[in-house]
């Protein structure tokens, strides 16, 4: 047999002792050194087991292949009660499952607001009694093909964006974005919040549905790809994506509903984050395509409920692995400060799960100050994510990195080996129910969620 290393001059990758590497440098041997560090504590045995699994490489190839090949399209806007398995007196929420008792301020606030909106309670006190009594059933959005930003509360009367993956035939949903300031998803439930929700159900939802019927489905994969090249990272910056969406929809909105068009367009235009929810549904439908590949260590969901940060893994079905949600590090609005911040919350980490958000920071120099640091930090953040991902996205590219694909497909094994945790961009909700948004920044997921999942994968 021929060994290619015996032909020509050796070019060596070295990992480990410096004295061995120095000996190569003294011989003028071309060498690339690995900045090796020990894996996350306590993961050695599980790592060895998982790495040795003969299914792993192929399984990851299949799983990430599905994630990359998904072609999400926005096909409709419909009431939650029609499309989701959501009977009356059931609410979905962001993150892994949680009950009232453990729910944080903004989660409680959003649940209270939803109860009032659904007419189950007349005021906050009554809503709280109702929720404490347990007569409203709570479940995780992720269990129902759904994602929701921040508190992510979905109740039967809310209207949902419906996104279909043409490649794998799956569907995913996300609620409509309410705008900034005092909004339900940040835990606010005052009269203006509930009033806005009613308007969204009566006007915004039906008008968008009619417009989409006129325009036909919108290709989110290509829209996201364009927005990345226009400076969005699709989590904390959605200005380009929202503009592109409005450009696609505006004529149809006017056609479908001349009376309401101005109000609807003004609302959508007034909210740079309007696209976020469509992007999240696109992320969800893509990540779901990668689920349930036996032996795969690909992360298919990262989500927070304001108390726990949870992940799901392709080779581990619907099990959640959780750790305490951290408090984001970032900039605060007005007089708010870190003491006002709630721990990390929301399903919007589906953007990072699908290779966007914090992973695509290098594409969004405009917001680097908002999440702390300068442009070089943003580039370093994206570069570091290539260390823990299985692939580079063929369609989502970053101009500033020579149109390199975004780092996509988080691998549990690579996280444990490098100790490098996913970079997550996020909004910051007020700690006290009813406050709303207090800032935005970066957050680091708890390592134990990943190490627990790795241990479970080793046991399969």
């Amino acid at each position: 047999m021929r060994l290619s290393m015996l032909d020509g001059e050796p070019r060596v990758i070295s990992a480990g002792a410096a004295v061995i590497a120095e000996a190569l440098d003294q011989q003028a041997v071309p060498r690339l050194g690995v900045d090796w560090r020990p894996p996350l504590p306590g993961t050695s045995a599980a790592l060895a087991k998982v790495l040795a699994d003969p299914r792993r490489e192929r399984a990851n190839e299949v799983a990430v292949g599905r994630l990359l090949s998904a072609r999400p399209r926005l096909v409709g806007v419909r009431p939650a009660r029609e499309v989701l398995d959501l009977p009356p007196r059931t609410f979905f929420h962001a993150g892994p499952p949680i009950d009232w008792e453990r729910a944080s301020g903004p989660m409680r606030g959003a649940l209270i607001g939803a109860a009032i909106f659904e007419g189950l309670a007349a005021d906050a006190e009554e809503a709280e009694r109702l929720l404490v009594s347990g007569s409203v059933k709570l479940d995780s959005c992720h269990h129902h093909r759904t994602v929701g930003p921040m508190a992510g509360v979905v109740s039967p009367s809310m209207w949902m964006l419906e996104v279909v993956d043409d490649e794998h035939g799956r569907t995913a949903y996300c609620s409509l974005n309410e705008g900034l300031g005092k909004v339900l998803r940040y835990g606010a439930y005052g009269p203006e919040v509930v009033e806005r929700l009613h308007w969204m159900g009566e006007v915004l939802g039906p008008v968008l549905a009619a417009a989409l019927a006129v325009s036909g489905p919108i290709d989110l994969r290509s829209l996201i790809a364009q927005a990345l090249q226009m400076g969005d990272e699709l989590h904390n910056r959605n200005r380009a994506a929202t503009s592109l969406l409005v450009r696609e929809l505006a004529p149809a909105i006017v056609d479908a509903s001349p009376q309401q068009a101005a109000a609807v367009l003004r609302f959508v235009n007034g909210n740079d984050h309007f696209f976020l929810n469509a992007g999240m549904a696109a992320g969800k439908v893509s990540a779901d395509a990668a689920r349930d590949v036996p032996g795969s260590s690909l992360v298919v969901a990262m989500a927070r409920n304001g108390t726990d940060f949870g992940i799901q893994v392709s080779g581990l079905g619907n099990r959640w692995f959780t750790g305490p949600a951290g408090v984001p590090d970032g900039l605060y609005l007005g007089a708010y400060g870190p003491d006002d911040a709630n721990p990390d919350i929301g399903d919007s980490t589906i953007t990072e799960t699908s290779g966007l958000g914090g992973f695509a920071m290098a594409a969004a120099p405009a917001i680097v100050r908002f999440v702390g640091g300068d442009v070089s930090d943003a580039i370093a953040a994206t570069r570091s994510m290539y260390e823990i991902t299985l692939a580079e996205h063929p369609a989502y590219q970053i101009p500033g990195l020579g149109f390199r694909g975004t780092p996509t497909g988080i691998d549990l094994v690579l996280i444990a080996r490098t100790g490098q945790l996913p970079v997550v961009n996020t909004g910051i909700a007020g700690r006290v129910a009813g406050t709303g948004q207090v800032g935005a920044g970066l957050v680091s997921p708890p390592a134990e969620a990943f190490t627990a999942a790795l241990a479970a994968l080793a046991a399969t």
Partner: protein, 298 residues
């Protein structure tokens, strides 16, 4: 062969005055001899040439970085090149090279004429048109019109005619402009191919021809061409070549793909790579012919 543009450059000094690298075994006699004075001949961005005051070949040493063309008389440094300029004093011997205040020690030896392993004459004949095609597909051409002395060298070698070959070699030596004139590179390519392929395919006549050309070079080169080129001719006479030319030899022998290797060689210098490639082609054709294989007309 040239290493780069001819700007005068002062290199950054390595911190400790100590450097190490990998040396061609062609330099082993010079390095193992007692210390002898030398002079800096020329300084380029990627290399420094030293001339040792001796009659022993090779008397020019190229001290180069890893990015430079690895000449058969080179020491490749793992450290930055020492600061020096043309005319500076240097020394070679007692196991090291001294340039300025830097002492270079050898931590690895490499062979500038590695064995190709046994090869059939048929294989050589088969590879010839492919080699020619890759060269012709490129825009790179030798620096001299091969119809003159080149054609005489080609026919002399292929027909086993010493008189023609030696006459042609004498004409080619030093012919053309530059530090390594095209004529020298063309002749070098022929000598390397004759010796290496002749040895690998057991074609004694080709090796014999290489020996005669080597004798011609040994007798004349120092007076006919630049010191650097004379040393490279001396190396070629032993079958020693730069890394890019060696890669082409291994490509012909089937150790790796030929295309990238030939294109890598053709990229060298202004015309050096194309000159060497012409020589290797011509030498290869001669070995196939001398070995008794019918060579397709060109």
């Amino acid at each position: 062969m040239t290493l780069g543009t001819r700007t005068r450059i002062r290199h950054r000094e390595p911190a400790q005055g100590k450097a190490s690298g990998a040396a061609s075994t062609a330099l082993r006699p010079a390095l193992e001899s007692p210390r002898r004075p030398a002079r800096v001949l020329a300084v380029f961005p990627l290399g420094v040439y030293l001339e040792i005051r001796t009659d022993v070949e090779p008397f020019v040493v190229a001290v180069v970085t890893g990015e430079a063309t690895r000449l058969p008389n080179a020491v490749v440094l793992g450290d930055p090149l020492p600061a020096t300029s043309a005319g500076d004093e240097a020394a070679v011997g007692d196991g090291c090279i001294e340039i300025g205040r830097v002492t270079v020690r050898v931590r690895r030896w490499w062979d500038p004429a590695p064995a190709l392993g046994p090869l059939g004459v048929d294989r050589l004949a088969q590879m010839l048109p492919r080699f020619a095609q890759i060269c012709d597909d490129s825009a790179r051409r030798p620096g001299l019109d091969p119809d003159g002395a080149g054609a005489l060298l080609a026919s002399g070698c292929a027909e086993g005619s010493l008189t023609s070959a030696i006459t042609a070699a004498e004409q080619l030596m030093g012919l053309g402009p530059g530090l390594t004139p095209s004529g020298d590179d063309m002749l070098a390519g022929v000598m390397v191919a004759l010796r290496q392929f002749g040895r690998a395919a057991g074609v004694g006549k080709a090796v014999w021809m290489a020996d005669w050309l080597a004798a011609t070079v040994a007798f004349d080169a120092r007076t006919r061409t630049t010191p650097i080129s004379a040393t490279l001719l001396h190396c070629a006479a032993q079958g020693q070549a730069c890394a890019e030319a060696l890669a082409v030899l291994r490509g012909i022998a089937g150790h790796h793909p030929l295309g990238p290797a030939v294109r890598g060689l053709l990229r060298l210098g202004h015309t050096s790579g194309a000159d060497l490639a012409w020589g290797l082609r011509t030498g290869l054709a001669a070995v196939a012919r001398l070995g008794g294989s019918p060579v397709p007309g060109r």
